[in-house]
């Protein structure tokens, strides 16, 4: 590499990227599974997605459901009924959306088949490497928070795993 001395942005962290506005549906899909978690705001986003899909010439099959919080088995059941070619669209609070996304990936969907929108950022999934628990943390990156598994105080690192759908916490008191 020789003497490359240009200023380098050493702050390249891995963080989930969020859109400011609900993204448009991916019309290359043949069917759609729309999920909202939590409040009525998320439900409104999903209804808007559905209305948009109904207006297209394609008028694809759309399955929509609402849940108060992310539930792994519920999502797994819906995906087992869906067929390859489906697009998953999720709206809700950050924790629920990221956990749903990781579950969908574990069950075979790739990021390119998932559209997501966070209506709130007050919580996030936090993985504790010391006890292996993933907590719903009401905190932000660089905050300190308790692990619900081992009660260690964790710093939330700006490091996110889309496979786990969680941020990394480390006990650095």
């Amino acid at each position: 590499m020789g003497n490359v001395r240009e200023a380098v942005d050493s702050g390249t962290w891995s963080l989930p990227q969020w859109a400011d506005q609900p993204p448009d549906p991916d019309l290359t899909g043949a069917s759609f599974l729309l999920i909202s978690y939590g409040d009525s705001e998320a439900e409104a986003v999903v209804q808007q997605w559905e209305a948009g899909l109904r207006r297209t010439d394609l008028d694809p099959p759309v399955l929509r459901f609402h849940a108060s919080a992310f539930d792994r088995d519920q999502l797994a059941d819906k995906l087992a009924e869906a067929r390859c070619g489906v697009r998953l669209m999720i709206a809700g609070g950050q924790y629920d959306v990221l956990q749903a996304m990781a579950t969908a990936r574990a069950l075979g969907l790739e990021t390119g088949e998932i559209t997501r929108y966070a209506t709130a950022y007050e919580d996030l999934p936090l993985f504790c490497p010391h006890c292996q628990t993933t907590s719903r943390a009401y905190a932000e990156v660089f905050d300190w928070t308790d692990c619900t598994g081992c009660h260690r105080v964790l710093t939330i690192k700006p490091h996110y795993s889309s496979q786990r759908g969680s941020f990394l916490g480390v006990d650095t008191r």
């Binding site: 290359t28 043949a30 069917s31 087992a80 390859c84 070619g85 075979g108 969907l109 790739e110």
Partner: protein, 314 residues
């Protein structure tokens, strides 16, 4: 280029008119390398080097098997049909993997047309051995149903399903029917004639399959536009070469005395990949490089791709 080795023919069996199965074993004291499903072996057939799909599951093989269709316009397959008998030795390269399964697939849809059954059989055998699920569509002409018995037996495994079709129309119908009814997380693989590959891509896209779930093994490529004449330089050489209309970079380099590894000469096998030092523009026409690699412009398949003011490093 991959390592060469000598192999011994232990059996030559006629599967149907024009298709012979050749079984190869290592010479004494050597072991065969395992391979990924869908891999091919390059056989030295007289003056030709031809690629043939290995039909086995690739898990610790004690022998390699390939099935050779005799083509009129192809000296290599005719040579193999004529010269190979039990006991003969042959030079082989590989195995080379260019049609591998995606390891975390939830399920596979395997589509074969004609002699394209060979890599599909390899995929199906491996999935059966690992107790995974798969669905197979096999399109063939009734008198040329190579490996159909073997395939039927594999498809008796739990989680397997087989659809056999014997006309192009029925093949499209089967593709429409089956591509819209696979589980989430499936990957689909096809090997067959050009028209089948096109149907597969078109029907797959209509059924909502993203491109990264559709995998193609090409054994023929479409006719290419002859293109324009352009300038070519080889790094370190003062000479300026011209690549004429209808002539490839590979042919131009060969006429100028350079030796470039190559095989299929139609942008499919990936052997003639050459580093690009600089270029006014590049026109990638191969099926090997990813869109990202093509956009980066760091290398070129010189058998088919063209450009303007290209400088290559050999």
């Amino acid at each position: 280029m991959t390592d060469q080795r000598r192999l011994r023919v232990t059996e030559v069996r006629s599967l149907c008119p024009e298709i012979r199965q050749i079984t190869l074993e290592p010479l004494e004291g050597t072991a065969l390398m395992g391979f990924q499903p869908g891999s091919h072996l390059i056989l030295h057939a007289g003056e030709h080097r031809n690629a043939y799909s290995l039909t086995g599951d690739g898990i610790m093989p004690s022998r390699y098997t390939v099935s050779v269709l005799k083509r009129n316009d192809d000296g290599g397959s005719a040579w193999l049909h004529q010269h190979l008998a039990p006991g003969s030795e042959i030079t082989a390269e590989g195995p080379v993997s260019m049609f591998a399964p995606v390891h975390n697939q939830q399920h596979a849809l395997l589509v074969a047309g004609g002699i394209g059954i060979t890599p599909v059989l390899s995929h199906a055998s491996a999935l059966a051995a690992l107790q995974k699920s798969a669905e197979v569509i096999y399109a063939y002409k009734p008198h040329r149903a190579a490996h159909v018995d073997q395939l039927r037996e594999i498809c008796h495994s739990a989680g397997f399903r087989l659809t056999e079709v014997t006309s192009a129309g029925n093949c499209r119908k089967a593709l429409r029917d089956r591509m819209s009814d696979q589980p989430v997380g499936s990957h689909a693989y096809v090997c067959g004639p050009m028209s089948m590959l096109e149907s597969f891509l078109e029907i797959g896209a209509a059924a909502g399959w993203p491109e990264y779930r559709l995998h193609l093994e090409r054994f023929e490529a479409p006719e290419l536009d002859p293109g324009e004449e352009f300038a070519l330089r080889v790094s370190g050489s003062p000479e300026d070469l011209r690549v004429p209309v209808g002539v490839s970079i590979l042919e131009t380099l060969e006429s100028a005395g350079y030796s470039v590894p190559n095989m299929c000469r139609q942008g499919v096998c990936g052997q003639c990949q050459i580093s690009v030092r600089s270029a006014g523009s590049l026109e990638h026409r191969d099926y090997v490089l990813t869109e990202e690699e093509k956009a980066a412009g760091g290398s070129l398949m010189v058998c088919v791709s063209r450009g303007t003011d290209v400088e290559v490093a050999l």
